[in-house]
């Protein structure tokens, strides 16, 4: 208990802060911050596995998040029958062609020695393949995108419950990570960072512009939910009773019946959205706790020890007979898969998929700030980092506004400096993140909760 005191203290402070938001702002805001904190925590756990356990830099987090989101769309949306009938065959045929192309390239790679001719053959296969695939897929894509473009214009998904997408998102992201890992893991640390960053941009470009698959920048809205809808809740009896019980002390003060009913209605409307958010919190908590248990187990297992050995001295680990390349690839895939889960969770919570909103600032660099601030190599630290940084990211605007008002109190309300500063309050969050990151890196380079390895 004693040695975990700082962990407990840090988490209690964090929960206290969220409760304070609940009391002073509203429980709705507090819960939405809490939910996004949980999602961020999943993402940081994924990044932490790669960076903290194995020392791999992955700046492609945005790409895996988006793929997770794509999984949510493809799993939950009902299939668009018309689109399938006009263009489905072309798409399926192109898919086979792609698989055939990959197999052909693999065959050439395995069959022949490395030489210039081999490189040229591969290049010819790929170029020819792309041209053929374009000829096959183009009419299909055009037909699909013309099917009621205002509402669908894409193939749709499988119409399954959205919860499944959390697993599928992990598979998608893991698959992408496998390909990227094969290409890029041999690179030196900072090259790897740049390469993964750029590859994730390619992924986003594809998701944004392949309308037949994702609707692109037209967004997919109204995804299915794993939680009940507010409107339905507001008409269910047991829920109204529950709200009445919760607020009985306040309601009893009102004697007039009509007024009492109006007040109750208000409580029910507020309560329904809090209830829905609580449902999400419950689901997310399950994921976070399950992942935490698994990652903790892995950290203290022989496998975890081997990963740390590889991280701390690659050559020595190699000399001891550990397959560094294979382990790096494995951990790259695992970490990315966890990020994929988070991406699917995010879209599940929002109920919409907006490819345009995936930006490296929010989905890559912010997650990295979380990992560094929280404490790389320590799962509790990573989760805490997700909480702290997301909390600050949201609350930076109110804090910034307060600070601006405080420092410019002497100025007139219409003074240009004050007006300008108040307008730019949203950007104080970048300032706060940057300064926070720099301070942590300088004075506590191992993060708030540093890595602590005890042999059990």
């Amino acid at each position: 208990m004693r040695k975990n005191l700082n962990v407990i203290a840090a988490y209690s402070i964090m929960m206290g802060l969220i409760i304070l938001v609940g009391i002073f702002q509203s429980w709705n805001i507090a819960l939405s911050i809490f939910n996004l904190c949980l999602i961020s925590a999943v993402m940081t756990m994924g990044a932490n596995i790669q960076w903290g356990y194995a020392g791999l830099i992955n700046f492609g987090i945005m790409g895996y998040t988006a793929l997770g989101g794509l999984a949510a769309v493809l799993i939950s949306v009902n299939p668009v029958q018309e689109a399938w009938s006009v263009g489905g065959l072309n798409i399926l045929f192109s898919l086979f062609l792609i698989i055939g192309m990959v197999l052909a390239v693999r065959y050439v790679l395995n069959k022949y020695e490395k030489s210039k001719t081999r490189t040229y053959i591969i290049a010819v296969i790929i170029i020819l393949g792309i041209i053929i695939i374009r000829f096959v897929s183009e009419p299909g894509i055009e037909a699909i995108e013309e099917v009621d473009p205002a509402k669908t214009g894409f193939l749709g998904g499988f119409g399954l419950p959205i919860i499944f997408s959390w697993i599928v998102g992990a598979l998608f992201a893991g698959g992408l990570a496998f390909v990227i890992g094969k290409i890029a893991l041999g690179l030196r640390a900072d090259y790897l960072a740049i390469a993964t960053l750029l590859i994730s941009e390619i992924v986003i470009a594809i998701i944004k512009h392949e309308d037949w698959l994702t609707r692109g920048v037209k967004n997919v809205i109204g995804l299915k939910r794993p939680a009940p809808y507010e409107v339905n809740l507001q008409q269910t009896d047991w829920f109204i009773d529950l709200v009445e019980k919760f607020n009985s002390s306040k309601l009893n003060l009102i004697s007039d019946f009509a007024e009492r009913q109006a007040a109750l209605n208000q409580f029910v409307i507020e309560g329904s959205s809090i209830f829905v958010k609580l449902c999400y919190s419950g689901l997310f908590l399950i994921v976070v706790i399950a992942l935490l248990i698994l990652t903790q187990k892995a950290l203290y297992s022989p496998w975890g020890r081997m990963m740390r050995a590889i991280r701390d001295n690659e050559e020595a680990a190699n000399a001891m007979g550990k397959n560094v390349v294979k382990q790096h690839l494995l951990i790259f895939v695992l970490g990315s898969a966890i990020v994929g889960i988070a991406g699917a969770m995010l879209v599940t919570q929002d109920g919409l998929f907006t490819p345009g909103s995936y930006r490296p600032m929010r989905y890559t660099f912010l997650i990295w700030v979380m990992v560094i601030v929280g404490g790389s190599g320590n799962n509790f630290g990573a989760i805490l980092g997700g909480f702290v940084v997301w909390f600050l990211w949201i609350e930076a605007a109110p804090i910034g506004l307060y600070l601006v008002n405080l420092t410019t109190a002497g100025l007139d309300d219409s003074h240009f400096l004050k007006v300008h500063l108040i307008e730019s309050v949203p950007y104080f969050r970048f300032l706060m993140m940057g300064i926070g990151l720099l301070l942590i890196m300088r004075y506590r380079p191992k993060g708030i909760l540093p890595e602590k390895i005890e042999i059990k």
């Binding site: 890029a184 750029l198 941009e201 104080f428 720099l438």
Partner: protein
Amino acid sequence: MDFLNAIILLLNYIFVPALAYGSQLALGAIFVTLIYGILRFANFATGDMMSFGTMFTILFTWYFQSVGIGLGLLPTALLAIPFAVIFMVGYMLLIDKFVFKYYRTNKSPPVQLAMVSIGVMFVTQAVVRIIIGPSDRRFFDGEKFLIRAGEFKDMTGLNEGLAIKSTQVITILVTVILVSTLFWFLNKTKTGKSMRAYSDNEDLALLSGIDPKKIVMITWIIAGILATIGGALYGLDKSFKPFTYFNNMLPIFAAAIVGGIGNPFGAFLGGYVIAFSEILLTYAYKKFFMYVLPESMEPDGLVQLLSTDYKFAVSFSILVIVLLYRPSGIFKGKVL
């Protein structure tokens, strides 16, 4: 005649824009490469540092415009750049003193410095947005075109017009002057040679009496000049928006790595490789083939290899291919 038309078409839509865009990328790429070669880290704040310098250029341009100082046909920004450079260099030296110096003297691994540069990126981005705001700004004034498409058609009697924007000519001229001065400096002067020595082998350079503080300071000064001018030229040619500048970091990185990171000449050429491939692969060649081929063979589609949406993706794919086959870049990196 048709053949001439086709050539003018390509000049107008591919060659001139790509040359200007490539020059802007090249300046940024040399900036990245210098930092990488001498200070030994990948600077993720590149795009935002460029936008910081451009912001000062814009502020000075506004000031000069408000007091009525201008350059006539040339944009006022050219007059503002030297002042902006002073502020930019000051900012960079300040950052170096308070942020990067600590890690350099501690001999931290490059990864840690890259992380620190992300912190600098956040701060710089915030400062730019707080001072000038996130919106799109144009600060170009003066004569817009050197040759207008219509004038060119009248002059030559061709069907296709060739429009050359004055910003494009300024960009190319300034880049040529700046880059040749830089190469002269690196290859011929004593300080430049010591910079190359320091980049090549730090310990050996220290042994032979090179002052590392001076090298680092000069690197930041050159970097400041490159960042401000590169950013300002991009802003003049297109427009200034902090978010675009942040995104420009990606093709700039691609250019630096394609050219061989640490090698300024490679970075210079890398900028053009990226720019030309982006534009060549996403241009619709329909009109070109209409001129070149006989009427019976005219193409139906746009004859576009990739849609323009994938402009950025092209440069990144080139980067991936280069990393796979020649990880040290086309022109062999790490030699400065």
